[in-house]
């Protein structure tokens, strides 16, 4: 049995407290009026930014060539200012949402990996099942938090999802056409169905997995195999829809048909990386004595392979849009190329170039500190990936990695560590009666 070390527990509490404090500062310091927002931007950027826009607006007004030119300019200015206010108000919310989704996505990615191992009846991995079950335990609190944030968005506590605002939809033909699917009620019903299904499978599979240890036949194992296969079908459909709902709908005019796969690759590689990190940590504390280099090698191979897969999907999505150059599609990348250069290209280096070069050599996949180092970079890279998916739509060019963003990472990171390692103490770390456990113990490559 694993006992939660005190240092780790205290560390997770400190992270949560500091994170909460940072997030609180972020929420309190968000502007509540247009004047405050303008003052914030003016003081942050000097005169350059605001002044430039004002000139642009005046020029725009004069071009009309009517007597109402000045009025037009003012109107434009006012709508721009409200937009700016909304962006600044969105910032702490987006920071909260990105971090909440990122850690939730790790648990969901691990759940998919776990279900694949079960459905494939893999012989190498059963020894890692308890670690995976521990990580997927975070699905319950993480999923509920994401759901609460979505409910608060529907209640207009923030302006992250513009299509939730009836005023905006009233002036937007495209959104009216999508309203049959993209409306707040159906949105929440879908979210509840997705989360309900995933959490149900997680809890049920865990129950069967524990029951298998105590039983004298393989019936629980067979049941788990069937549930896992069924779950994968459900997951494949719902994961895709979840990514449209929770992320792609932040840019409600834009769409990409492989977006679901893209988000899947991100969560899959983050999940596998976290499995590897937790396994290395537990092994360094003297647990999991039957886990050997070959298990680690296989996890690192997955990290390497899925990193390449992620890049493939990232590029497939980008290249088609870049080549076709259709205005309504290409705006998505224009926003990222103009305002998000560093996180956007930094993410490519962290998620592709770095793991490609570091994890290519077969021998390095067996070196613990190498895998840990690559893992941390990959995880930060995929946090940035979610950041790049959410922020351009919600805060535009007002992004910054500051207190609320770091606070979100710390708070949910602390909660994640606390929840996962508490779940790990609940059952022995090595399954007893899994029919493949002997093969897994002697796994050798």
């Amino acid at each position: 049995m694993y006992t939660f070390s005190n240092r780790l527990r205290i560390g997770s509490f400190i992270a949560m407290a500091v994170g909460l404090l940072f997030l609180g500062i972020g929420f309190v310091s968000a502007p509540s009026t247009v004047e405050e927002a303008k003052a914030m931007v003016a003081s942050a950027h000097g005169d350059g930014h605001g002044g430039g826009h004002a000139e642009e607006a005046t020029a725009h007004g004069e071009e009309q060539g009517h007597g109402a030119a000045a009025a037009h300019g003012e109107e434009h200015d006012a709508s721009h200012d409200t937009h700016l206010l909304h962006q600044l108000q969105n910032r702490p919310w987006s920071a909260l949402y990105v971090a909440a989704f990122f850690f939730f996505m790790i648990a969901l990615g691990v759940l998919a990996f776990y279900a694949i191992q079960r459905a494939a009846q893999a012989g190498w991995s059963p020894i890692l099942f308890r670690v995976m079950e521990g990580i997927t335990a975070y699905l319950v609190p993480g999923g509920i938090i994401v759901f609460v944030i979505l409910v608060l968005s529907v209640l207009h506590m923030n302006h992250m999802f513009v299509w939730m605002d009836p005023e905006t939809v009233a002036h937007d033909k495209l959104l009216q056409g999508k309203a049959g699917y993209l409306n707040p009620t159906f949105f929440l019903i879908r979210a509840a169905i997705f989360l309900g299904g995933w959490i149900f499978y997680r809890q049920h599979s865990r129950k069967l997995s524990l029951a298998q240890d105590e039983s004298d036949d393989n019936s629980n194992f067979v049941k788990n195999f069937r549930w896992s296969a069924g779950f994968l079908v459900f997951y494949l459909v719902t994961e895709s829809m979840m990514s449209w709902d929770w992320i792609m709908s932040l840019d409600p005019h834009w769409f990409s048909t492989l977006f679901g796969w893209y988000v899947f690759a991100s969560m899959f590689v983050s999940g596998i990386t976290v499995i590897a990190l937790v396994v290395i940590y537990l092994k360094s504390r003297g647990y999991l004595e039957n886990v050997n280099d070959s298990h680690l090698h296989d996890l690192a191979k997955f990290m390497f392979g899925i990193s390449i897969f992620w890049t493939y999907l990232w590029f497939a999505q980008f290249m088609l849009i870049w080549y076709a150059d259709i205005p309504e599609e290409v705006t998505y990348y224009v926003a990222r190329f103009q305002d998000y250069k560093l996180p956007f290209f930094g993410m490519l280096v962290m998620n592709f170039v770095f793991p490609l070069l570091v994890l290519m050599n077969s021998d390095y996949k067996r070196v613990n500190w190498f895998v840990v180092m690559a893992g941390i970079v990959v995880l930060l890279g995929h946090y940035l990936d979610v950041f790049n998916m959410v922020m351009p739509a919600t805060v535009g060019d007002q992004w910054y990695i500051g207190l609320p963003e770091i606070g979100g990472l710390l708070f949910f990171g602390g909660l994640f560590v606390f929840w996962v390692f508490t779940a790990l103490t609940k059952a022995p770390l090595q399954p007893k009666r899994n029919p493949f456990i002997e093969e897994s113990k002697h796994f050798h490559y």
Binding site: F315, F318, M319, W322, Y323, A324, D325, N361
Partner: protein, 175 residues
């Protein structure tokens, strides 16, 4: 130059593996083992050095990537610039995304093909090469271990019979 070798035949890969370990433990130099299929772990048991083909593969991949970049730059930018989909080909960098699939394919193509050719050459296999394996049965269901003889014929034969060989013979070998 002809050299004297002793050849032991086995009919099971597990027996062969144990025999290899025993012969090595007795400090005899195994010249070669012929098997009908790859035996997992045999290279380690024989004490062969690790393969370096991965390094060549990386170099060939880099070569392929370079060839793709130079080739596309010549074809699409320098020699015959075209305007495709409103993207005039005047700059390699601005058209680079269109060349990424080619860069990827050429990297894989070079790495894969040159790696296979390297493997054949390194294994001294080329067209019209005379087969090296001393016994046809090693292409069917037998395993053959070959050890150089240095005036210790009877001692070696005894050891090999002990390890479970089904046949032991001494022959002259041209090399």
């Amino acid at each position: 130059m002809a050299s004297k070798v002793i050849q032991a035949l086995y009919n099971d890969d597990d027996v062969l593996m144990h025999a290899v370990k025993k012969v090595r433990a007795a400090h005899h130099h195994i010249e070669e083992v012929y098997t009908p299929f790859p035996v997992h772990g045999l290279d380690k048991a024989m004490g062969l050095a690790g393969t370096r083909i991965a390094i060549t593969s990386f170099m060939y991949g880099c070569l392929g990537l370079t060839v793709a970049i130079v080739m596309m730059n010549y074809i699409m930018i320098e020699d015959w610039p075209q305007d495709i989909g409103g993207k005039p080909s005047f700059s390699y960098l601005e058209n680079m995304p269109a060349f990424v699939p080619i860069m990827f394919e050429m990297t894989v193509f070079f790495a894969a093909h040159l790696m296979v050719i390297t493997f054949y050459l390194r294994s001294k296999m080329w067209p019209f090469k005379k087969a090296e394996n001393p016994d046809k049965r090693t292409t069917d269901d037998h395993f053959l271990m070959e050890i150089g003889v240095h005036d210790n014929e009877s001692e070696l034969a005894e050891l090999l019979w002990e390890t479970g060989a089904v046949e032991v013979k001494v022959t002259e070998k041209d090399s």
